[in-house]
């Protein structure tokens, strides 16, 4: 028995399962599978931001008792009162002074080191790398206690305060500045500098007009990081502060008797300022583009 080719094709088509568009669940399933890693990332971001949201939210709370852990009543009273409390104002002022000074010094020292490591080869590189890494990997308790030991041995125990806190903050900020600025230097296209030199710019001009402006964003990022690390430091400060009360020290001291919502206001303000400072260049860039 013979069949035509057309008949054969029809038979073959009939044997195929009927074609269907994948259903909603099948498509959803596939979409979820291809986006699984993004789901986990979103979860991680939620995990990181949930406490920040709680801090901001509870700055609008009127605590029922001493402790500001449970939601009671909405109010903006903490926001209007925040600078009335001399304890908070003094602590924030001290923290800002320390953070500004230690940021300035650590950014200068750290940037110089970053240029040395990123741009030069020299003997003893390994040791230098190690000495920069160690403060980042050492527990703060160990650094704080060893600094206190040093200050005690130098008979400075009676004069612990602004100076000793700042000295300590500069120490642990330097490493983070080096890492941040060095990453920027390593990412530079050295052909830009070569081009400048080819066009008869001397070394100084090349540095001032090409290298430094290109590294500057890294230096700014490092300064922001150093400022936040210093402003926020508690453990090392706790060992080196003596009677001085920085903002984290105030929060720690207030914790046993209940942290006032005003402290949350300070936290929220810091967060908003930082977000604006960090996001502004990005926003400006997008607006200019469009």
């Amino acid at each position: 028995m013979t069949i035509t080719i057309d008949e054969r094709r029809e038979q073959a088509l009939a044997a195929l399962p009927p074609h269907r568009e994948p259903g909603f669940w099948a498509r959803a399933n596939r979409w979820i599978r291809t986006h699984l890693v993004q789901f986990f990332a979103a979860f991680a971001l939620l995990f990181m931001f949930l406490p920040v949201m709680i801090v901001v939210l509870f700055s609008f709370n009127v605590p029922a008792g001493r402790f500001n852990y449970n939601w009671n009543q909405f109010s903006t009273i903490a926001w209007t009162n925040v600078w009335q409390d001399p304890q908070i104002t003094d602590a924030v002022k001290l923290s800002i002074e320390i953070a500004l000074l230690s940021t300035t010094v650590s950014v200068v020292l750290g940037t110089l080191i970053a240029f040395a490591i990123g741009r030069h080869n020299f003997r003893g590189r390994g040791g230098i790398n190690l000495l920069i890494f160690m403060p980042m990997a050492t527990p703060e308790v160990v650094m704080g206690s060893s600094l206190l030991t040093l200050f005690v041995a130098a008979q400075l125990e009676g004069s612990l305060g602004f100076a000793t806190i700042t000295v300590a903050h500069i120490m642990f900020c330097i490493s983070f500045v080096v890492v941040t600025v060095k990453a920027r230097i390593a990412g530079l296209d050295s052909r830009l500098e070569q081009a400048a030199m080819d066009l008869y710019a001397d070394e100084r001009t090349t540095f001032m007009k090409i290298t430094f402006p290109l590294v500057l964003p890294g230096i700014v990022a490092a300064a922001l990081l150093a400022f936040s690390l210093s402003f926020d430091d508690f453990v090392i400060t706790n060992f080196t502060s003596g009677q001085a009360v920085t903002f984290p020290m105030f929060v720690w001291g207030a914790n046993t008797r209940g942290i006032p919502p005003e402290a949350n206001v300070v936290g929220a303000i810091m967060f908003i300022i930082a977000l604006v400072v960090v996001l502004l260049p990005e926003v400006v860039k997008r607006v200019r583009k469009s």
Partner: protein, 333 residues
Amino acid sequence: MSAAPVPGAASAAPADDVARSVGTKSWTPYALLSPGMLWLAIFFLVPTVMLLRMSLSSGSAFAGDGTFSFSWGALQWGNYGDAVSKYVIDSPIFQKSLIYALIATVLCLTIAYPLAYTIAFKAGRWRNLLLVLVIAPFFTSFLLRTTAWSTILSDSSIVVQFMENTGMLTVLHAINTPDSWPTWTQIFPDGLTGETRVLQTPLAVILGITYNFLPFMTLPLFASLERIDVRLIEAATDLYSSAFTAFRKVTFPLSLPGVVAGTLLTFIPAAGDPVNAALLGAANDSLMGNAIDAQFKATGNYPLAASLSVMLMVVIVTMVALYVRRAGTEELV
């Protein structure tokens, strides 16, 4: 694990530098280095030596004349004996700190890897924004953020109610070190959580540590993922490896420097963290950080506190030395 297989990574930099530093004077790098390194030497290295010295001294800040004496002829090794008998044998604080830190590090890695991976490969034009979001929580006081977990994990919170209703708390509570085991192994004597509560249990402390050190894991991971040449992954999939195999054989091995750097920056500082145990843990649940803090501040037994700090330093130096032997120092900074 070694630095070599990462294309275009820092390991290639020094050779390049030689060419670039031709023409500058040979003392230039030292002039650039010296102010900052001097600062680190005086306020990091010298204090570490002072700490070692203190750990072998005798005396107390609050007893006698409040001074300490050190002599090479009479090194006070007994301080270490005290530290071990009090904080390793009588109560397992040293081991507990390391185990809490280990669990927190594993959790950090699990949470941070997908995040860093997404930012490096899947974020497109949102990449910079996401990077900013990773460090943004840094800017709110970390003490406030840590106490915020007291709200999130309070007994009546949604999270804890959910864990209780699904039976998770029953399971976590059942994970404990049996009473019949010797004292030095009693790390979770009352279970990972309570039957109805999470706050003031080991889990709350571990979660707090995980939360606080997450950016220190995410950023090095991102840095090493970002450096991966995407063409290597494409080559793997072109040669018919599945997405998972390509990840297992190409992406993950190439990201190992970041995994290790992140682990170093998370595990060791976490092992000495005093804040999470104090704010989120039970009153009697202290870790090495709290022990050192208390011996310094409350007891004034500086030599004992110093020997506890040195015990942590030994763990750090060992881990860093193992890393440096395999991968060198270029990828550290």
